[in-house]
Subunit: 231 residues, 2 copies
């Protein structure tokens, strides 16, 4: 919610309402003041009402009503993106939210949800993103081909994370130095084999694990790019 | 369960019972045969009984009764370990299980749960490990100082993952090439500031995220070591 208020300070009509319990208002007077200054209606609510507004087992006593955060793909990519994370047909909200958080940390210009993917406004996704949903431009586009064309037009090489690729990320510094859009598939199905990409790379498995969790693999890949691009 | 049966094939009395529904027995005849060959008692159970044996919402119709997998710290470390993941006071079972899975993938020699940490036999931890709990030696020791002394005796440098460290993992290839025990604290509290370590390193945050999920940070750190040690 704090990141939502900061987001509201940077543009009009982004957050309309803030609901806080007495306890939260007493503990976080600065948050309430900033919200009021940003033109957000603030209402004090009972613990019970706050619980009703939340879908978690242990509600935090604070909720905000926000405009959707997703933007046009062209706006999300901007003029000269260098690192973009693309989730293709990723349905799990926790994984999607964690990739948004990790992408933010790794310095991506945007996160794109392509195809039949989870809605980034899903509560679990919002919470897993830990505020990064309000930091990083996020676009959602159903047509995967349209996404790939836009990424290419923006000057990005398409790099598919593919557990069966012969080359590992450790042997691809040259490729990773270029502006890159990483394509990640769902944990259950991976990327469609026919998906066109300029490179296919895998995270090396040195032990006996069969695979990595999607959000984990994305973290290792995005940080490999961040490292290669900064050398 | 498949990894548990493989584990049972490698040593006596590791798995005593396998419970499967008719549907699973029909779909996985090989699993049932291998279990019987390994001396595991196999019982066909109803869907309802299988659901009663499971603590998930969508039970898979298969359960095994296993001996505890944890080993002595000395056994877990072996004679010349090169990479070990240590979770200090980590209470979240999903995070612990994911680190065991990721550690397995990154090629760690062992995972150590130190201090007041989650029991790795917790159901959520077992499931998040995706079988890696049966691949990687896991030790659990309450006394943190004892763990640190044993790691040092085994020739490992202690490297603390510390979000406030001045040096990032990208500038520490030299240090990371040495045999390393990575120390990770809980997501809520991090490592105790007084915890002795040979190096303190952070994962760089290039964007506006405040931090990384514990399992994500561990993945990036362990893979940085795996990469540095293999160059």
């Amino acid at each position: 919610v704090r990141d939502a208020v900061t987001w509201a300070e940077d543009g009009p009509d982004r957050v309309t309402d803030l609901f806080v319990t007495d306890a939260v208002a007493a503990r976080e007077p600065d948050l309430v003041d900033r919200a009021r200054d940003a033109g957000i209606r603030v209402a004090l609510v009972t613990e019970k009402a706050a619980a009703g507004l939340s879908d978690t087992v242990t509600p935090q006593g604070v909720a905000a009503v926000c405009r959707l955060v997703t933007t046009d793909l062209a706006d999300a990519l901007g003029t000269a993106p260098t690192l973009v994370a693309v989730l293709v047909e990723v349905a799990d909200p926790g994984n999607a939210g964690t990739v948004i958080r990790t992408g933010d940390a790794a310095g991506v210009d945007a996160v794109v949800l392509a195809g039949d993917a989870v809605d980034p406004h899903n509560g679990k996704c919002v919470r897993a993103s830990m505020g990064s949903l309000f930091h990083v431009p996020v676009a959602q586009v159903r047509d995967v081909d349209q996404v790939l064309a836009a990424l290419r037009s923006a000057g990005l090489a398409l790099v598919a994370a593919d557990g069966y690729a012969p080359t590992t990320i450790d042997d691809a510094d040259e490729a990773l130095r270029r502006p890159t859009a990483w394509l990640f598939g769902s944990e259950a199905h991976g990327l469609a084999p026919g998906l066109p990409a300029d490179h296919r790379l895998r995270v090396p498995i040195h032990g006996r694990a069969e695979s990595l969790n999607l959000a984990t693999a994305a973290a290792v890949c995005l940080y490999a790019s961040a490292r290669a691009q900064r050398r």
